[in-house]
Amino acid sequence: MTSLYGFKRSPAPRASKIGVETQTNKRRLLAGDFLRFGNHRLQRDAMIGGQFSRFGDSANTSFVSHQKQSVENQLVPNDAFARSLIYADFAAETDKKSREIDAEIQRIDDLFVKLNLENAQKTLDLVKPKPKPEPKPKPEIKPEAEFEEEPEIVPLTAEERQEVTSFLNQRVSSNTVVAKAFRIDLTFSELVALKPGKWLDDHVIDIYLAAQLDNLKQVYVFSALFMTTLKEFGLKRTKKRLKGFKNIFEPEKLIIPLHVHGNHWTLAVVDNKKKSIYYYDSMSGYEHQDSNNKPTGKTSSSIHELRLLKEYLQIQSEVLGTGDSEYLIYDRMPCPQQHNGSDCGVFMCETAVRVARNQPLTHKQSDMPTIRQRMALCILKLRS
């Protein structure tokens, strides 16, 4: 049996006890008082909504007693069934409402707990900053990851070593041309500079750098004599000099070997993307020594050459009309240092090749004999 509002009435068995004659009263009640009941419901709902928290259950009780009276006055006062019906309805209604309110409170509680948990989590995150810095260094490492893998300096095989040794020790006159490549005729006297302890000259450097970097499109290698030419003959003929040149602002990097103080090879790299001139000196900070190992009082600052290079780039950009030509000079780039007075050319070549290929500069003094042999092998291969 369902009640007026569709609730299951708990004291259901009472209907059978009351008997048939009460059915009419019940019907009257159902038909006649539906509207009034509806009104009372609204009234009670308003009370529950607005004053429930203040009055608590007393509001309901007073209302129920009021209702009880009015029902008793209007309907059959002694009809226990009708009374019970109304009570049951109200009880069910109140029960439902309070359950709804309980649910609401529960929901708010849950929400509150959830919010608190979230806040706590946030606070924990703030207090625990250690996990965050760990991912952070990764983007900082990434610029380094731009570097290609570090090249391994592999010692020559016994066969290769044999080949190089015989190449460097062949019995020919010093003016014999031993290799022809990249418009350079390399004589034997220049080649033997690759033996340990000897000084490299411009031919060896040019031929080696050309052989190593000729296939890189984004890199243009200048002749080792280029800056010396600028120094000796000045910039006055630069415009004339340019006409045979390709656009030096197209490649990403320009590799420019520098010959400084008349006895030292260093490297300048022009980065056209970053508008920078980088200067690598394998003897930065050291005083130069003459042939008797006495300091000459000259330290490796080649700012004059770098300014000249900057000026040259300026004039070049004016001639070519490429606009922005303001280059920044970084004249003390960290790079591996030599520990003797003979390996600067080798250091310079290795640095140039690695910078051009975007490899880390990790070579060191102990690698030099191997690199010298590798250079000889490279030139040896050009010959055939």
């Binding site: 000259d201 004599l225 010959h259 400084v260 003979s342 050319g345």
Partner: protein, 110 residues
């Protein structure tokens, strides 16, 4: 640079040009262009008159003879690039009045 030097330089290169003198008239008839070049080593300038297709080796050898320097210790540069023995003024795009720059061999170690 004096005119005297020019004459001397011209004389230095003269025998070689004369050696091919028998063919020269034909070439001259074709109207082959002569151009004057200067070789400079920052101390002296030496002027030469050459044909467009004369190998520059001749000019370089003449310069070395004139200055008494070893060919292998010198580097000759035009437009910032090395001159190879087999180059000619035509092959590297030289014009009248151009300079060839001579540098000493560059070595370095310390």
């Amino acid at each position: 640079m004096s005119d005297h030097e020019v004459d001397e330089a011209a004389n230095a290169i003269q025998p070689k040009t004369e050696s091919s003198a028998s063919q020269n008239p034909e070439e001259d008839n074709k109207g082959e262009e002569m151009l004057s070049l200067k070789v400079t080593d920052s101390q002296t300038d030496v002027a030469f008159k050459v044909k467009m297709k004369t190998p520059l080796k001749r000019v370089i050898d003449a310069f070395c003879k004139r200055t008494g320097k070893d060919r292998n210790s010198l580097r000759f540069i035009f437009d910032g690039e090395r001159i190879h023995d087999e180059d000619t003024p035509a092959s590297i795009g030289m014009e009248d009045g151009d300079f060839i720059e001579a540098l000493n061999q560059q070595t370095g170690g310390c």
